[in-house]
C-alpha cells in the first residue's frame, strides 16, 4: 500500500486504516501509547482523537507542500510539521482538562515519534492530494482510536468496573486490577491479536472446505 501512485478516491481511502491496515492490530505500530494510556476508555479516546487530529492536520499540510519540499529535507520538514501539531494538541488538551492531561502524561507529546504518523506522511500524504490525505489520515486515526478503545473498554470494565468513569458493574463485582496494571495492557492486546488470528484461521479453514 505504501508506494501507490495518485489514485481515485474511494471509500477504501477512508476505511483502509479502520480495518484492513489497522495501525495497531495489523501493522503493530504505535504500541507504546496503545498500551500506556488505555487503562481507561476516556484516556484511550482522548489519545485516539489527539492522534487523529495530528494525522489529519499533518497529512493535509504535508500533501499541500508535497511539491515544494525538496527530497533531501523531506523527513526533517515532516518532523517539524508533525511536532508543531503535536505541541498544539498538547496545549489544547491542557487547556481543556488538566485531569486528562495528567492522566495522559508525556504520551501526548510522544505522538510525535509515533511511527504511524511519519509513516503516513511519507507513504501517503507526500504522494496524494490534500483532501485524500486528510480523509486517509482520518481513517487511520479512527482505526487507531478504535484499537485504543477496544483495549481501553476491556481494561476499564474489568479493571475498575466502570466505563468512561461511570460505574456499570454491580457494587459487589470483584474488579480484576491486573487489567489496569501494566501487565494487563500486554495481556489484553495479546488477547485481541489472538482472537483475530483465530478468526482468520477459522475463516480460511471454512473457505478451504
Amino acid at each position: 500500500m505504501s508506494t501507490k501512485e495518485p489514485e481515485a478516491m474511494t471509500l477504501e481511502t477512508f476505511t483502509q486504516g479502520l480495518w484492513k491496515d489497522n495501525p495497531v492490530f495489523v501493522m503493530l505500530l504505535g504500541l507504546c501509547p496503545t498500551l500506556a494510556v488505555t487503562n481507561s476508555a476516556m484516556n484511550a479516546l482522548a489519545m485516539g482523537l489527539a492522534t487523529t487530529f495530528v494525522l489529519i492536520a499533518s497529512g493535509f499540510l504535508v500533501s499541500l507542500l508535497r511539491n515544494v519540499i525538496p527530497k533531501q529535507v523531506r523527513i526533517a520538514s515532516y518532523i517539524i510539521i508533525i511536532a508543531t501539531f503535536v505541541t498544539m494538541a498538547d496545549y489544547g488538551i491542557k487547556a481543556i482538562s488538566l485531569d486528562l492531561y495528567k492522566a495522559l502524561g508525556a504520551f501526548i507529546q510522544l505522538i510525535v515519534v509515533n511511527c504511524i504518523i511519519l509513516g503516513r506522511a511519507e507513504a501517503y500524504a507526500s504522494k496524494q492530494t490534500p483532501v485524500k490525505s486528510m480523509i486517509n489520515g482520518a481513517g487511520m486515526g479512527f482505526g487507531f482510536t478504535l484499537a485504543l478503545l477496544s483495549l481501553g473498554v476491556v481494561r476499564e470494565i474489568l479493571g475498575s468496573g466502570t466505563l468512561f468513569g461511570i460505574q456499570i458493574m454491580p457494587d459487589r463485582f470483584q474488579t480484576w486490577s491486573v487489567f489496569v496494571l501494566p501487565p494487563g495492557g500486554f495481556f489484553v492486546l495479546a488477547g485481541w491479536l489472538m482472537l483475530f488470528t483465530w478468526l482468520r484461521e477459522r475463516k480460511s479453514k471454512q473457505e478451504a472446505l
Binding site: K71, A76, S77, M88, Y91, G92, A95, L98, L181
Partner: protein
C-alpha cells in the same frame, strides 16, 4: 547537500516551514496560556479548599529562611505554601505539600495545617501510582481520610502510622489493612513535611508577619 536542488532552496524551505510552525506555536501558546493558567489555578484552589475545610479563598505565601512573605498574583516569585481564607475573611490555616515513597512510586500530598490548634485538618493525595483497589484506598477511603480531620501536629510526638485498629493517640494515623506500605507512606510524608515546615511556620507567625 547534493546537487540537483540548490542548497539555498533547501535552507529556505526548511526555514520557511520552521518559521511557519514557530508562528503557529506561538499563537497556540498565547491562546491557551490563560486557559491553562486558569485551569491550574482552579485545580490548586480546589485542592486547597479541600484540605482546609471552610476555606473559600486562597492567599499565596513563600516561606524560606528570610521568613514568611505573601506572594501576589502575577509576581515572579514562586509560592511554596498557601493560606485558606474563610467566608468571614479569617485565615483557617495553611496548605503544605509533602511526599514520600509509596508502594509503587512517590506519593505526593497536600495537607491543611491549622496553626491555632496545631493540627492537620485535611489531606489530599495529589499524585500516586498505588495499586488500584489496595494502595489507592489512601485517596478514597473515607475511614482513612477521617484520620486527617484533627491529627495532632504539635510535634510533641512525631506523626506515625499504626496498624489498622490500633490508633490510640491523636498523633497516630490508623493504617489501612492490606495497604500498610501506602498508609505508612502518608504518615512519612506528613512526618517529614511537618518536621521541616511547622517549626519555621510557627516561628514566622510568632514573629508576626
Amino acid at each position: 547537500m547534493s546537487a540537483g536542488t540548490s542548497s539555498s532552496k533547501l535552507v529556505i524551505t526548511l526555514g520557511g516551514i520552521a518559521v511557519f510552525s514557530g508562528v503557529l506555536l506561538a499563537l497556540t501558546y498565547e491562546i491557551t496560556k490563560p486557559m491553562i493558567a486558569k485551569n491550574e489555578s482552579e485545580a490548586l484552589e480546589a485542592a486547597v479548599f479541600e484540605v482546609l475545610p471552610g476555606a473559600v479563598a486562597r492567599e499565596n505565601f513563600r516561606l524560606d529562611d528570610t521568613g514568611l512573605r505573601k506572594v501576589e498574583e502575577g509576581s515572579t516569585e514562586e509560592p511554596n505554601l498557601y493560606a485558606g481564607i474563610n467566608e468571614a475573611g479569617e485565615r483557617v490555616g495553611f496548605a503544605l505539600p509533602g511526599e514520600a515513597r509509596g508502594y509503587a512510586d512517590v506519593v505526593r500530598v497536600l495537607y491543611g495545617y491549622n496553626p491555632e490548634n496545631k493540627q492537620v485538618v485535611g489531606l489530599q493525595v495529589l499524585s500516586s501510582n498505588e495499586t488500584p483497589g489496595l494502595g489507592d484506598r489512601i485517596e478514597k477511603d473515607p475511614a482513612f481520610q477521617e484520620n486527617f480531620t484533627a491529627l495532632d501536629a504539635s510535634l510533641a510526638h512525631e506523626i506515625e502510622t499504626v496498624k489498622n485498629g490500633e490508633k490510640t493517640e491523636p498523633w497516630q494515623i490508623d493504617g489501612i489493612s492490606g495497604a500498610t506500605v501506602s498508609s505508612k507512606a502518608i504518615g512519612k510524608a506528613l512526618r517529614l513535611s511537618t518536621n521541616e515546615w511547622v517549626p519555621k511556620l510557627n516561628a514566622a507567625l510568632e514573629a508576626g508577619e
